[in-house]
């Protein structure tokens, strides 16, 4: 049982929680995630660690209410407890060579990219960040990201804030301007990560993406989270969740994420 000590509505159906979890905070590193359950009959879902504070013994989670568990989580308040919380899981993100990094976060993917930018910034990298969302209402962590980036760009699909268009438009512009870019870390919806990968492949820029595969245990015992990377089968929960975007089979991952569409509709009715 882990206590929620802070809760914030970032946008409609987008919630931030700061949770007491000293054991997890102590070892957490950017790129790692937790598994959680919020109901006695609940399922186990992965959430990326959006921030951690070793001194306070807390971790930060950001959840978009897309399924039953995230909706139940969204109903929890300060002082409530998360029934089961396990972590930190997965391998920390390994950084490719070079000091010029671009961090891209799309939608709820802004949360997991934040600790990456933060760490790189602390280590003295030149960090350029691009965050994007469908509309300005869904943008969050703007100040936080600005604080850990040498430069921050914003894009919205509807043009309600920043660049009117996609994060990849901005990345293209940066490349066209001839800025030095050694590697890109991109987290967001699969189509966004795939678009980033397609773009950087042309220029031979190393790109790391982080997956939120379907998981059961999160410790390597079910194989439900498997992905194909460079023709090899990997388990997202233990080999990832960060992978080389140029080797990843995004289409397969997209398909696997849709595996329980039908059942998800049933759960909505049941609530």
């Amino acid at each position: 049982m882990n206590k929620i000590i802070e809760r914030q509505d970032l946008a409609t159906s987008l919630k931030k929680f700061v949770v007491e979890a000293p054991m997890i905070a102590r070892r957490a590193q950017p790129g790692q995630f937790v598994m959680l359950r919020v109901h006695e009959q609940g399922e186990r879902i992965p959430l990326t660690i959006a921030d951690f504070d070793r001194e306070r013994g807390t971790i930060t989670l950001v959840a978009q209410e897309v399924g039953r568990t995230t909706r139940l989580l969204g109903r929890l308040n300060e002082g409530d407890y998360i029934l089961d919380l396990l972590g930190p899981l997965g391998e920390p993100t390994a950084h490719p060579e070079g000091k010029n990094a671009v961090c891209i976060g799309g939608g709820v993917g802004i949360a997991p990219v934040y600790p990456e930018a933060k760490e790189l910034h602390q280590k003295g990298y030149n960090v350029t960040s691009i965050i994007g969302a469908r509309t300005s209402e869904l943008l969050f962590f703007e100040e936080e990201m600005a604080a850990v980036s040498n430069e921050l760009f914003v894009a919205t699909d509807d043009g309600s804030k920043g660049h009117h268009g996609f994060v990849t438009d901005i990345l293209q512009k940066l490349i066209d301007e001839g800025r030095p870019i050694d590697f890109v870390i991109a987290v967001g919806p699969i189509p966004m990560m795939k678009a980033v990968a397609d773009l950087t492949r042309k220029y031979g820029i190393k790109t790391i993406v982080s997956l939120n595969s379907m998981m059961v245990d999160g410790t390597g015992m079910c194989g439900g989270c498997r992905v194909t990377v460079g023709g090899e089968v990997k388990f997202t929960c233990v080999d990832g969740p960060s992978f080389d975007a140029h080797l990843l089979d995004f289409d397969e991952q997209m398909r696997r994420l849709c595996m329980y569409r039908e059942q998800e509709k049933m759960s909505e009715v049941d609530e």
Binding site: G42, L86, T219, C222, V233, S267
Partner: protein, 468 residues
């Protein structure tokens, strides 16, 4: 004495057409009368062969005699002297390969139903025993147990009885290991496992759930910062193997571990009341023929699949599952395609499984395991339609602990190297169960937990002496 009854007293069970519609236990267990009658079939041998076949050396004629004398408490006391989990072992042990295989009565007739009698005694105790469990005054050094399968549970129980302060660290949100997430309710009711865990808690064992050793905390930290004098690693063989054939990542392909964990631990069979979904196919193929495969096949039927087929590359004689489970599966309508090896899983444009392409096999020369090696028959490929494939071709140990514990020696199969007492290459670190042997049995894991507890006791005592 009258001539011995040639067959075991039959086990009362739910009829197959009924039981495939529910997850309730298949068999009901002997009544007192039948148990006493069955106990009379035992010859009370002076040199009991059965005991040699028991991995933990239970005094089998001894407990059977007590049943014959209707001293059921006496029977359970004898069982528990060697086996701390008789209600579980009585249900899931492969007796036909162990005690019952060697039973003298079995030479001419069916052997004594030792397993059924063991289960009877354990169930009798659960129903009748009023003895309050008293917490142990554990004031000794701290010992950590990693993993709460049969190996870990047994080690924890033995250690606390010796006065050690015991903490179990378990990755899952529920203790029990394979007993909870793997073996289905209809074969091993979860209430029985929960009872054993409650018992340990009452004794005073501390169980820390949601802790992955190697991630949340390392083995090294347990031994240093956290102040544990010794650690027992019983993390099992939870890493699923796949076939490495095309199509294995299609939607609708599961490892048996995932299929069974979703169903048992996460109760997908009660979806949507329980929230974890599972994809229930109309036609399910299960690849493999061990206990895990039988469990997956019978689970698929109960979830509502119309046609379930076991696909196995060797022949009937080599199927590793318990005989009783194969029989139960047959009775329930599971089909068997033997001497058949899958070569590709077929899918549609949306990425869902549509069929299985297989090749027929024949048996050739014996291989390293002594079993005749299956070889493909050229040109015999065929396809059949399925919408779910469950891969049950074995598991290995999870590499997490070895990977995060410098100096911990492992074999080329990834198992932790331990001597006969469970001692590993690191002083103070002991291991036992599937993580040492590779996927084996509940009783062997239990036995290993017990032996390691003895060794840990010796290790700590000799260390204390040195320090004095």
């Amino acid at each position: 004495m009258a001539r011995i009854r040639p067959t075991k007293h039959p086990m009362p069970a739910q009829p197959p057409e009924e039981r495939i519609k529910n997850f309730d236990e298949v068999t009901h267990g002997y009544s007192e009368d039948v148990a006493v009658q069955e106990a009379l079939r035992c010859l009370q041998c002076k040199n009991p062969r059965c005991v040699e076949g028991c991995p933990v050396g239970i005094d089998i004629p001894g407990f059977i005699l007590k049943i014959r004398e209707k001293d059921f408490q006496g029977a359970i006391d004898i069982l528990k002297d060697k086996n701390s989990l008789p209600a579980i072992c009585g249900r899931v042990c492969p007796q036909e390969d162990q005690c019952e295989k060697l039973c003298i009565v079995g030479i001419k007739n069916e052997p004594v139903a030792i397993g059924r009698l063991e289960r009877f005694a354990a169930d009798w105790e659960a129903r009748h025993s009023k003895a309050e469990v008293k917490p142990v005054e554990a004031t000794g050094p701290k010992v950590a147990v990693v993993g709460s399968g049969p190996a870990g549970l047994t080690a924890a129980g033995e250690l606390i009885k010796k006065g050690y302060r015991v903490t179990i660290f378990e990755a899952f949100h529920q203790p029990g290991g394979v007993l909870m997430y793997g073996i289905p309710e209809f074969r091993l009711p979860k209430a029985i496992v929960e009872r054993e865990i409650e018992y340990l808690k009452k004794l005073g064992v501390d169980i820390q759930l949601n802790v992955v050793v190697g991630r949340t905390i390392t083995l090294e930290e347990l031994l240093t910062k956290e102040g544990y004098e010794a650690v027992f690693v019983g993390t099992g063989a939870g890493l699923p193997y796949f076939l490495n054939i095309p199509g294995e990542n299609l939607n609708g392909v599961y490892s048996a571990n995932e299929f069974l964990t979703r169903t048992n631990l996460m109760r997908a069979y009660q979806f949507p009341k329980w929230h974890t979904p599972i994809h229930i196919g109309k036609r399910v193929a299960v690849v493999g023929a061990g206990n895990v495969a039988m469990d997956a096949a019978r689970t698929a039927l109960r979830l509502g699949a119309e046609e379930v087929t076991i696909v196995y590359r060797r022949s009937e004689a080599e199927m590793p599952a318990r005989k009783e489970e194969i029989e139960h599966a047959r009775e329930e309508g599971v089909r068997f395609k033997l001497l058949t090896n899958p070569v590709e899983i077929l899918g549609n444009e949306k990425g869902w499984v549509t069929g299985l392409r297989c090749i027929k096999m024949e048996l050739g020369e014996p291989d390293a395991s002594g079993r005749r090696r299956p070889v493909p028959i050229p040109g015999s490929e065929f396809e059949f339609p399925v919408d779910v494939v469950v891969v049950a071709v074995g598991q290995g140990p999870n590499p997490l602990i070895p990977r995060t514990t410098p100096g911990l020696e492992t074999s080329k199969w990834g198992t932790i190297v331990a001597d006969e007492t469970g001692a590993t290459s690191i002083p103070g670190v002991f291991a036992g169960g599937d993580v040492v042997t590779g996927a084996a049995t509940v009783i062997k894991a239990m036995g290993a937990g017990k032996i390691a507890a003895e060794a840990i006791d010796k290790y700590i005592k000799s260390k204390q002496k040195e320090e004095k």
